[in-house]
Structure formats: structure tokens, C-alpha cells
């Protein structure tokens, strides 16, 4: 279909060029003798030759118009390949930002983890239940989230039960069980930001990054969207923070630009 449109636009385009060339040549041939240098009577005379040229040019003109219409129709098909898609179907906005998205990791299967780190910290912090939180913190600092494999390894190496790990890691807000994107976007949902449209900003970012409902990270694992309570700069509402950078007075149109500081 793609190639069909391309071939069609090429054919129609060359037909356009051909018609223009014919008209130009016709004009040049008919005006070998400069118009002004001819006798006045001849300038106005309607000769059979002139009428024939007029009808010929008229026909070529129609072909030209038809060819141009065909060219535009085909070219529109080519140019508008990415149709205005409904929000869920939009590609990841990370590509639009020029962020190298790297090899796509499928969310279902995590890559092989180097679990020797778990063994090291167990040696460092000890095997008792009391070291559960420091261990989890160390794992989160190292892997940026709590991978299931690392937690399983932790259970094997220590006295901590899986139930305790599940309870601790889900109780504290600081622990994450799902992979995090390279950059964390914290959108403020405090009172001031809420009334100035934080909801719209978040929705626009979700749409832009193509983050599905119920998740917080885009497919390319570039950005993780986090709704936070307050960033402490209400005068700049609505506000978001990308890694260390703060962007304020956002609109849905400018919110996506705020992500560009990471690029």
C-alpha cells in the first residue's frame, strides 16, 4: 500500500512536470518572435494557429490539473501515514523527544540479573530479620527497584520470610516492586497545582508517553510518572520535577517540553 502510494505519486508527479514542460515549450515556440515587435494588427488577430494552440494548451492544462490532483492525493497518503491516532495508540513520546530509547525490554520478562550483589550485602548487613529494611534499601538503590529474583535470592540467603518481605516492601512508600524508567517525572498534585490543572498535565504526559492505564512507566522505560503531594513551590503551579529539574507554570502544551531537559 505504501509502495503503491509512492509509485502513484511518482507517476503523477512526473506527469505534472511533463505537462508543465509541454506548456513552457509551447509558449516558447509560439513566441519565437517577440510579441511587441509584431505589427499591431497581428497582435490582436485571432488566427487558426492561435485558436489551435489555445485548445491544445487547454487540454494539457486539464491533464495537468488532474495529474496535480492525483499527485496530491497520493502524496497526502504518504505524508499522513501516522494518522491522528487515539491517545492509547500513540507511539511513545520518548521517540519524539529524541531520547535514545535503547533496546526494548519486554515488561513481562526481566533480563538476567546479577544477583551476587544480594550475596554481598547479606554478608554486610547480616541474616537476621532486623536487617530487612537496610537490605531492601540497598537492593533498591542498586537495582533502582526491587526485582522479584533479587527478593527470592534474599529469602534463600537470610532468615526473612517471603511474607515479611512482601509486607515490608508494600508498606513503605519508598519501595517499588516494578521497574522504574530512566527518569522519574514527579507531577505535583498539591492543592495549588490541582486547581491549576495538574490532572490535565498528568493526562497529557500519559498520552504523550503512551503509558497505559494502571501503569506508570512508558514502554521504552525512559520515564516514570509519579504523582506527588507537594513539591513546595506553589507559586509556580502547576509544577513537575524531572530528576533534579523543576518546571513550573506548565500548560498541557508545554508540559512535554519540560521532559526535554533530560534529552
Amino acid at each position: 500500500m505504501m509502495t503503491g502510494a509512492r509509485i502513484g505519486s511518482l507517476i503523477a508527479g512526473s506527469l505534472v512536470v511533463l505537462c508543465v514542460a509541454i506548456l513552457l515549450v509551447d509558449y516558447a515556440v509560439a513566441n519565437r518572435q517577440p510579441f511587441a515587435s509584431r505589427p499591431a494588427a497581428e497582435q490582436k488577430r485571432v488566427t487558426a494557429e492561435r485558436l489551435a494552440r489555445k485548445s491544445r494548451d487547454n487540454a494539457v492544462g486539464w491533464v495537468l490539473i488532474a495529474a496535480a490532483a492525483a499527485f496530491l492525493t497520493f502524496a497526502k497518503g504518504l505524508v499522513q501515514q501516522p494518522k491522528p491516532r487515539p491517545p492509547a495508540a500513540r507511539q511513545s513520546g520518548a521517540d519524539a523527544l529524541g531520547v535514545p530509547s535503547g533496546p526494548m525490554r519486554s515488561p513481562g520478562r526481566a533480563p538476567e540479573l546479577d544477583l551476587t550483589f544480594v550475596d554481598q550485602i547479606v554478608l554486610q548487613f547480616g541474616r537476621g530479620k532486623e536487617s530487612a529494611i537496610p537490605l531492601l534499601q540497598a537492593i533498591q538503590t542498586h537495582y533502582r527497584y526491587l526485582p522479584d529474583d533479587a527478593l527470592r535470592r534474599l529469602c534463600e540467603q537470610t532468615d526473612i520470610t517471603p511474607a515479611e518481605i512482601a509486607g515490608t516492601s508494600s508498606f513503605y512508600g519508598q519501595f517499588r516492586r516494578s521497574p522504574v524508567g530512566e527518569h522519574i517525572v514527579r507531577v505535583c498534585h498539591g492543592t495549588a497545582c490541582h486547581v491549576s490543572g495538574a490532572r490535565q498535565i498528568t493526562e497529557e504526559l500519559r498520552r504523550f508517553l503512551a503509558i497505559p492505564d494502571g501503569e506508570d512507566t512508558d514502554a521504552a522505560r525512559m520515564f516514570t510518572l509519579d504523582e506527588v503531594a507537594c513539591l513546595g513551590c506553589c507559586s509556580l503551579a502547576p509544577v513537575l520535577m524531572v530528576d533534579g529539574h523543576t518546571a513550573g507554570k506548565l500548560t498541557p502544551a508545554t508540559a512535554c517540553n519540560a521532559l526535554k531537559v533530560t534529552a
Binding site: G61, W62, A68, P86, G197, T251
Partner: protein
Amino acid sequence: MSRVPEALGRACVLLVLLAHSALAQAIPYQRPVDTAPQANSIGGGYKVPPVQKPLPRDYWLQVVDAVALSAAMGVSVWLVLKRRSRKWLTALTIGSLAYFGFYREGCICPIGSLQNVVVALADPKYSIPMLVTATFVLPLVVALYFGRAFCGGVCALGAIQELVVLKPVQVPRRLDRALGLLKYVYLGLAILFAVKPALTRDFLICRFDPFVGFFRRNGAPHMLILGGGFLVLGMFVGRPYCRYLCPYGGLLAWCTRLARRGVTVTPNKELDCGLCAEACPYGAIEKMRAVRRNCLYCARCYASCPCDGELAHAKAGLVDLPGAAS
């Protein structure tokens, strides 16, 4: 609150338009054909060839033209404001291009009628037929109430550019504004040349109409090349002639300041996602709101809106998906 002064303004402009059209029509039109030598006065069996006696267009056909113009504008308003349908508007655009452009050969158009009206007001011996006055007044009246409905889908010059828009770039706002002032300069020049005494008078707008040559498949080569240039440019810059040069567009833009309704991108109904601003090739959406004086009634904003127009059913389909958490 601001309704009353706007209504007053509309009434004033309407009054002025009506008064001027009455003035412009004051002289009954007479063709001075009878004063030319006739076949019997020349003698010798001479027959006047038909080419030298172009018949005026029948009165009823003129009425048909005026009615067609108003009907097309009505349909344009309805399609854009009520149906919000870009598809049907494109169909109307093609229809207008075929009728007002290729069939009527781009004449008489409201842009050019401006000069006839100016001359009729300035020169007591110059008269214009009803059709010219109607062609001039009707789009302005529509603009007073609904914005530039004439520009979208009715104007033949606009239609030919509308159809070539391929991959429009967003012109930087300042450049856009600065170039937009050119049309007022052009308007001033056109009026200046039109009010000159009869022999030195010149209709600049018609002489430098870049597209009329295509409608007639005939014209001065430099104008055809210029028109081709405008069309090629128009593939990447949306409707350059309309936005930067059309003098009648300047008048319409003034009238839209009093408009009652127009294309709106409302804060509550739409998402504020900015897809419409990206889709608008004419830079008529500023800060997520449609600017009436620049809006050319193409309905692209509605077509690109996920909440509206032709994509609305897609959204409804998404919501209906089983198991989709909101």
C-alpha cells in the same frame, strides 16, 4: 455583558453595508453596445461575429449565483459549527472549486468585487450589477455573525490552496503576524488604484490574481508561474495567499471581531491536549483557543480532536472495552 456593544457594532456595519450597496446600485446599468457600429450601418453584407458580442449573463443565472454563494456559506457554517465534519467540508471545498473556480472561471469573486464596489462609490458614472454587490456584501454579513465561513469551503482561491496543503509547517508567530499586515497594504494599494480616474484605473487584485489563470487554463505566463509558485509554497505553508495577501481577508478579519459565534475550542469539552493547535496549518489556535480573525474554517482542529468529530467514535470504542480500568 459585551453582547450589547457587539450587537450595536454589527447593526452599524450592516447599516453601512446596506447604505453603500444602495449607493453603488444607484445607476441603472446600460450596455453601450448600441453606440458601436452595427451590421446594417456598416453595410456590405457584414455580419458581426458572435465573439464580439458576448452576451451578458442572464438575470436568473445571476440570482442563481448569489443563491449558490449564500447556500455554500450556510452549508459551510453548518458543517463546521454543527457537524464539525472535515470530510464533508472537503467535499464542499471541491464543489466550490469546481463551480466558482473552474465553471464560473473565478469571476466574479468577492475579493475582486471589492474594487468594483469602491469604484462604484467613487465614480458617479460607474455602476455595478446586483450580483457584484451581493458577492461583496454576503460574505461580510456572514463574517459578522459566524466568522470567516466564506474562506473555508466557499472561496475558490482558498479552495485551491486548501486542497494542496500537504505537510504544513507552523510559521513562527511573529513572522506570521508581520506577514499578515501585508494584506492591509495590498488592500490600501488596491483601493488607491481603483479610485483613480477612469483611464488610469487599474484592478490590481484581478491583475495579480495568482490562481485565476488555472481556472481559465489561460493567462499571462508570469502570473501562471507565480500561481504555481504559490501552490507549491502552499503545500508547506498553509494557504499563503489567504493569510498574507488576500485584501478581502483583511475586511473579513475586521468583521469577525463582532462575530457572535465561530469555531471554538472550548475548555470543558475538549482535553486541552494541543492536538488541535498542532493540526491547525494556519496558526489560528493560540494558547489552546481559536482566534476568529485567523480561523479559515477548515475544521482540521475538530478532525484531529480525540474527543470530537471523526475520532469521537474511536474514543467511544475505547471506553467500551471490557475490563478497561479508567
